[in-house]
Amino acid sequence: MQLPPALCARLAAGPGVAEPLPVERDPAAGAAPFRFVARPVRFPREHEFFEDGDVQRHLYLQDVLMQVADAPEKPRVPAFACQVAGCCQVFDALDDYEHHYHTLHGNVCSFCKRAFPSGHLLDAHILEWHDSLFQILSERQDMYQCLVEGCTEKFKTSRDRKDHLVRIHLYPVDFRFDKPKKNRSPASAEVPGDSGERSEGEAMEICSEPVAASPAPAGERRTYSHRSVSKLFLKHVLNVCSVLRILGCTLGRCASHTEFRKVTLGKKIGFRFCRRRKSRCFRSCE
C-alpha cells in the first residue's frame, strides 16, 4: 500500500479543515432498487466484528505476544537499619525497606503508636480514639463516619457503624481496622496484643515493639492534673478544628488562637470553665 509522499508532511503540519466541495444530491441516487445510504455504523460489545482485536488483546494479557523479559534483579545495597526510633529492622534492598516503612511507620498514630494502612483510617482512628470533643459531640449527633471511601453515612455509635459496614458494604464482621475503642482505666492501658479479638494473625494496628504506657489514656475519664494547661489547650484546639472539619467546615488543622476564636464564634462552640472539675471542657452552646 503506497501512500502519497505529501501525506507525512500533512500530518506534521498544523491542524486544518478541508474546505468541502459543494454537495449536490440527486434524488435518483437513493431510488430503488439501489439502497445505499451513507451512515456511521455502531457495533455493540459482543459483536463478532470485534473478534480479531479482542483475541489480540487477550493474547497480550496472557503474555503470549510480548517477548518475555527477565525479571530485573532487585538492586541490593549494603545492609542498613530502619531509622525510625525503636525500630531495629535491617534491610538490604530498597524496595523491602519502602514497603516496611509504609506498612509500619507510614500512617502511625502519634498518640498510641498504632499503624494503619492508609491516612483515611488513621484520621478516623485519631478522631474516634483520641479526641475528647468527638466523644462529647457524638452523644448529641451521629459522628462515626463509614469507613468505606465515598460513603457519607454517619452513625451514633461504633457498633452501628460496624453493622452498616457488614450489612451494606459486606465487610467481614471482624474487620481488623475497625476495632471498637475499649473503655479502660488508665491502669490497664492498651497493652500490645490485648485486643480481646485476637485471632490467628496479628492485627495491623498493634505495634510490634513493646510500648511504654500510653501517655494519652483514651478513656472517658481524663485527669488533667499532670498536664500543663497550654499543652492541653493546643491539643484541644486541634481536636476542635478537626471535628469541625468533619462537621463540614473548610478549616484545616489550625493551631493559631485567632483562627480558633473565629471558628468558635462561628459555630457557637465555646468553652466553659468547669469549676467542679477544675478543667476545661468543651460544650457546644445552644
Binding site: 523479559a69 471511601e149 496479628e202
Partner: protein, 493 residues
Amino acid sequence: MWSRRRGHLRPTVCGVEELRRRRREQEAALRKARREQQLVSKRLLREDAPEEAGEGCVAAILGEAEVQQFLRQAQRGTEEKEREGALVSLRRGLQHPETQQTFIQLEGSMRTLVGLLTSNQALLQLEAARCLHELSHSEQSTIAEACLPATSYLLTYLSGHSSDFIELCLYTLGNLIVESEAVRRQLLPQGIVPALAACIQSPHVAVLEALGYALSQLLQAKEAPEKIIPSILASTLPQHMLQMLQPGPKLNPGVAVEFAWCLHYIICSQVSNPLLIGHGALSTLGLLLLDLAGAVQRTEDAGLELLACPVLRCLSNLLTEAAVETVGGQMQLRDERVVAALFILLQFFFQKQPSLLPEGLWLLNNLTANSPSFCTSLLSLDLIEPLLQLLPVSNVVSVMVLTVLCNVAEKGPAYCQRLWPGPLLPTLLHTLAFSDTEVVGQSLELLHLLFLYQPEAVQVFLQQSGLQALERHQEEAQLQDRVYALRQTALQG
C-alpha cells in the same frame, strides 16, 4: 513498558516453532472462548528467583499436611526469616491447581492467610499477598470465591503507599473480578469504584497499569452496562482515564493500552457516551491517533496495534452519537490530519496486522459518512488510490473500501468528477468479477452513483466489456434488480 513486564518467566528453552505452535493454539482457544462469550484472561505476576527458572526446578504439589505445616510456621514461627520462608514455600506450591484446591478445602486456611496479610510484618504481608495472587489466577470460580474474605483488605490497601504492594493487590483484584460474579457482587458494595478513583491519582506508572487492568476486567463483566458502568461514569474515573490518554511526554504506552480498553468497554456499552464527549473524549482520542501515526513514522511501533485498536473503536463508536453534532454546533473532530493519520495506520496494519484493517476502515466510514469535509480530504490528499490497493485483502475489507467510496460518490457531481478518470472504473470492473455477493452488491451501488453523477463513465464502461461483467450476476437473487437497472442505464446512456 513493552519490555518491562516483571517476572513472567517461561522456560526459554523452547524453539521458535514451539512458540509459534503454542501461540496458534492459544489463539484458537481464545477465538472459541469469544464466540461462546466466555473470554477470560488473567495476569500473573510471578517473580521467581533466577535459580528457579527452567523446567527442572518447578515447585512440587503440596499435600494437606504440608500446607498446614507451612501455614502454622508462618503464623507462629519465632524467626522472621523462618516465617517468611514458610510462606514462600506455600506460594510456590500454590502455583499448582491441586495445591490450590487442597488449600481452600483446609479449614481455617484462608483465615490464617488473611491474618498474615493484615499483619504488621511487611515482608510477611507481601508474601501472603503473593499467595493470594497465585490463588487469584486459578480458572476455577470456587477458588476465586474462597478469596472473598480478603477483598475488603485488598481494597483498603489500595489507599496505602507501598506501590509494589498496591500493584500486587490490583492485579489480584483484577483476576478475582473476572473469574466470578459473586466476587463482583461483593466488591461493588465494598466500594471498589471509589477506591479505584482514589488510587488512580497515584504517580506510579506500575500502579496505574495495574489499575487499568483491574478496571478493564470489571468493565468486561456481563452485568457491567447495568450495574458497574453507571457508577464509574458518575465518579472521577473518566476524567482521569482521558488524562492518561493525552499524548505528550507523560504518556506511558502500557498504561494507555489499559485505559484505552477500559474506555472501549464503556463506550461500546452505550450507557452514556455524551458524557464522555462532554469530557473531551473525541479530541483527546483524535490527538492520540495523530500521536500513534507519528510513532509509526518513527518506527517506534512495537506493540502499537495494542493501543491503536481500542482507540479506533472508541472513536468510531463515539462518532455515531448525536451529541457529536450538537456540542458547540459542530463536529468536535474535524481536523484533516485525522484522515492522514488513519491512512498511515492503515498502511501499518496492511504490513503488520491485516486483521485490524476492518477496524481502521470502520473509522474511515464513520468519519466520511456525513462529512463533506472529510470526503474532500480523501480526494485532495490523493488517498483514493491507496484505498483501492486494499481491495485484494479480503471480502470484508473490499466491502468496507467500496462503502467508503460510496460515501464520497454520493455527495454529488463535484465529488464524482474527482473520481474520474482514474483507477476507479477499472477497479470496479475487477470487483464485479468477485464471487462474493456483498462485494458485488456494493460495487453495483458505486457504479450507480458514478453513472448518475459522471455520465461519461458509461461509455468507457461499455467499451471495457462492462455489460458482460454485469450479466454474470443477473441470476443472483440479491443482485438481479440492480444489475438490470444498471444495464438499462448503460444501454440508454
